[in-house]
Each structure stands twice: as structure tokens, then as C-alpha cells.
Symmetry: C2
Subunit: 287 residues, 2 copies
């Protein structure tokens, strides 16, 4: 596989709506993202609250945008059985929305220790059970599920899946390799995986298994001042994004390159148009 | 191997001087740590600045304390060859101090990307070269080197060694398994490794290779408010410390259990005597 050039190819690129801070209504974001030449968008559930999902889906389609993903799952682990059940059910409803949006995948941020727990093994076991049940539903709905391994600094709350290898092990266990293409795969985000000493092997394995469903870019700032909302614009940090994209595309990924930046100190304070313009420039110059 | 009980066994426990915030002179810290019944201490280089190292070593010995480690190496990677050379040289001098202190090991926090670099592979390669040169010197000095894998949230600056498996791979490469006991091993800190999905296998491998030279405890607070100085007292966070100690001791480790807490918002603001008293209580009750 060859690595694609992104120069003048914003049609290969997508904007995750979190990058704009969820300030504007989704309709305006769709129009602006399309107007600037991006090829895709990844909306969040909060963008659709109080909306007719079918109408939003039509507006995205009419704007000529692909839906590179739909963000994101409710955390699965819980102390009480009823709470776990409610988390799974909530995710099934979100999968139906992902289907209506024709999203390339439903992104799973799986959660980790419920407050009061130190039992990582139990959290991981609940994630496995919940993901298996979600996969049954997703297949009927025609939706692919993308497990997103999160940086280990989120291991206590946001995700007990913290490496590509671990997420692949889980996917292999739930959906063994077979004759059909996988419906359970991974969303790879450079922010979460760039440090991994086994990165190239892990990406190659994910690609060989046909399990790379999404690829997200942003940058790791040095120093980083907040655990959640201090992600950097591509090129402003220490990640060799082009090298990681080369690995991902050499492994067979041909989907959209999606920008997802959480930045309450910088990019969320700017006008969406300015942020989108810089995203476009950096996608073409440093990614 | 059986897991030791720490109840009434503070003699198995050590205090890393960083836990007290480096506020008092090392002589006073030595006396206070000994008076409270701990069996060991791990000083930092900054504690010995302007001191006669031999005199400090005698004071520690006279107080009946073991030296569970000596903290820590200067970061190895650098952009310029002369700067790299200076980093190695500085570490050789520190190894001589570790020898004078009869430290159980010299703790290596290896560093990562020099400012301006995105080249993790080069940083790792410099770490390998630097560690090999340090090992030659350490053997002559009778000092063991303990590579400390640091949490991946430090991958950009403090350490490009981020998992136990990665540190073991490096140790195996530099010092292949032979007939003598290893002089290059690991310092395992629950703060850095607790999230690892391969934790039990990695600890077992480290033990089988006789490479566990130190074991550090503290806790991961939820939420954590600072990347460096918001570590928790054992029991105040989400880490199942007793379970990890059981793995480490089942793998053959019989050295000291060392408390290392960086906490500018909490424990560093308290009187050293209070912090030491709580360390003692928590070592016996939750570790």
C-alpha cells in the first residue's frame, strides 16, 4: 500500500466536531466544514440532542460530506448490574443513530474503574461483555464498532483499553478472524498511541486484521497543562504525525484522516472558521 | 515465593526523600526516618549537594538504614554529541556517589525527546548507548543500574522507556542473560505501571530474569491535577497496591518497599513527621 498525499486533498480529511468546541449548532458546522472543502465530519451525540437525526443525516449527505465516525459510547463498567445494563442499552440507541447517519464506525471510549473501585480486571471484563452485546446489535444495524485505545493517563476513568495490542486482543476474542470482514475494529488516534514502543508492529497487526476503522490526528503539546483539554494542533507538538499516518496507510487504511482536538485554552477560544483554516493548512503541510 | 506481611515490618520499608519535598537537610531526614522505624532511605543527588558523600553514607549506616536506591540519572538524549557526552559523564559521577552510599541501585530516569526533536527512535537509541556505557562503569564501581519505566504521559520529556517489557527488552539487549546475576535491572513504581494490560506477565518476566532491583509505592489520584506533583498517598487513589506487591514478591523480589510521593498540594505542605507517620500506617494497612 502506498501512503496518500494530503496536499490539496482535503476531501480525504474529516473534522471531528469536538475540534470546534460544540459551540455552534450542528447545521452551521456541517455547512462550514463542507464549504472549506473537507470530505467528512464526525459528529458527537451532544450535537444531535433535540434534533431529528434523519434530517441531520440528510444535511450531511446533501453537503457532500462522509461521516467518518460517530462519537461516542457511554462508559460500560459500573458497580451495579442495573447500571451496567443501562450503559449497554444507551449504547444500543447510539448505534441506531450511527446507522441513520451512515457513519463509518461508532467510536467506543469504553470507560474504566467506576468510582470506588480498584478492580481493573472487572472493568475489563465488563467492557468485553458490553462490547460483545453491542456488536450483535451493531451487525444487525449495519454499523461497525471502533474500540479506541486511550492513552494510559486515562486508565482510571475514561478507558481501561490503553494500547493497540490490548484492543486487538479484545477484538480477536469477541470476533475471531473469519471469512467476512470484521465489524469490530479500532479507532487509532495519534494522541493516544504515539508513545507506544510497539507502535509499528501493533499498527501492522491491526491492518493485517482489517481492523483499522478510523484514524485521528492532533498533537501532544510539551508541556501539556491539562489531562483532557490541552491537545495541540498538528505541528505544534512532538508527534511525528506523518510517520504514524505512513504506518497506518501502509497497513491498508484508506479512510478519512480525522482531526480531533480538545483545546479549551486555545482552539476552542477562536472562531470556528479560523480553526478550520489552520486544520486545513496543517493537514496538508505536516500530516 | 511468598508475599511478605508488612504489618509491624517497617524495617522492610524505605522512604524516598522526595516524599518529604527536600525541605530539610539530609542529616535531619536520615535521623527522622530511622527514629520512626523505617529500614531504608533513598536519597536524591540534590540532597547531597555541598555535602561530603562519605559522611552522609556513614550517617545513614550509623542510623541503621539501608540505601534502597540513589535518585537519579541525568536524562541521556541530546541533540548535540557533546551534550550527550556530558550527560553520560555526569551519570558516571553519580554512579560513583551511589557506590559510596552502598545504594542497592542507581535509579535511571532516562529522558526522551530533546526540545525541538520528534525523533523517538533516536532518543531510544541514545538511551541504549548511554546505558551500555554506564553499565561498564557501574560494574567496576560495584553498583547496579535500575532502569525505571515511566508512565507514558512522560514519553515526551522524562522517559522514552514507558513499559516494563520495553525496559526488559533494553536490558536484555545490553546485558544478555548469563551466568552472573544481572547488574542492569528495573525499578518498578506502581504509579508508572499499574495501568499496563500486560502487568502480571511483565513482572513475572522481570523476576525470572532477576532484574527487579527496586519497588516504589504511592497512589494514582482520581482526578490527578498535575502531570508531575500530584501523586497520592497509598490508599488515597485507585491502585491496588497490595495486588501489585504480591506480583512483584511472587516474582522473587525481596528488597525494600520504597515510598516515593511527589505532592506539592498536599504532603509536601505538611510537617515531615506527619507525612512519615501516615506513610508508616498506610504501608502496614494498604500495601
Amino acid at each position: 500500500m502506498t501512503v496518500r498525499s494530503l496536499g490539496d486533498r482535503l476531501d480525504l480529511c474529516s473534522i471531528n466536531t469536538a475540534t470546534l468546541g460544540h459551540k455552534d449548532p450542528i447545521e452551521r458546522v456541517i455547512d462550514e466544514v463542507a464549504r472549506r472543502g473537507f470530505g467528512g465530519i464526525c459528529p458527537w451525540r451532544c450535537d444531535l440532542e433535540g434534533r431529528d437525526v434523519g434530517a441531520v443525516a440528510r444535511r450531511i449527505r446533501d453537503a457532500g460530506l462522509a461521516v467518518s465516525g460517530y462519537c461516542r459510547s457511554t462508559y460500560l463498567p459500573a458497580l451495579a448490574a442495573e447500571a451496567f445494563e443501562a450503559n449497554v442499552e444507551d449504547n444500543l440507541r447510539a448505534i441506531d443513530q450511527a446507522a441513520e447517519l451512515s457513519a463509518a464506525c461508532f467510536v467506543m471510549v469504553v470507560g474504566s474503574l467506576p468510582p470506588g473501585s480498584r478492580d481493573l480486571a472487572r472493568a475489563r471484563s465488563q467492557v468485553a461483555e458490553g462490547a460483545a452485546r453491542m456488536l450483535d446489535h451493531a451487525r444487525k444495524a449495519g454499523v461497525r464498532l471502533a474500540l479506541e485505545p486511550l492513552h494510559p493517563m486515562y486508565a482510571n476513568d475514561r478507558s481501561c483499553l490503553n494500547t493497540i495490542a490490548q484492543a486487538l486482543d479484545l477484538a480477536d476474542a469477541i470476533e475471531p478472524f473469519g471469512t467476512r470482514l470484521p465489524d469490530l475494529g479500532l479507532a487509532l488516534d495519534v494522541y493516544h498511541v504515539w508513545w507506544d514502543p510497539a507502535l509499528s508492529e501493533a499498527i501492522a497487526r491491526a491492518g493485517a486484521a482489517r481492523r483499522i476503522f478510523a484514524f485521528h490526528v492532533c498533537d501532544w503539546l510539551a508541556p501539556t497543562r491539562d489531562f483532557l483539554t490541552d491537545r495541540g494542533m498538528m505541528g505544534d507538538g512532538v508527534v511525528d504525525i506523518a510517520a504514524i499516518r505512513a504506518l497506518v496507510e501502509a497497513a491498508g487504511y484508506q479512510g478519512q484522516v480525522e482531526v480531533e482536538i480538545f483545546s479549551d485554552r486555545d482552539w476552542w477560544t477562536r472562531a470556528p472558521g479560523e480553526t478550520l483554516a489552520v486544520c486545513a493548512e496543517r493537514l496538508m503541510s505536516v500530516c
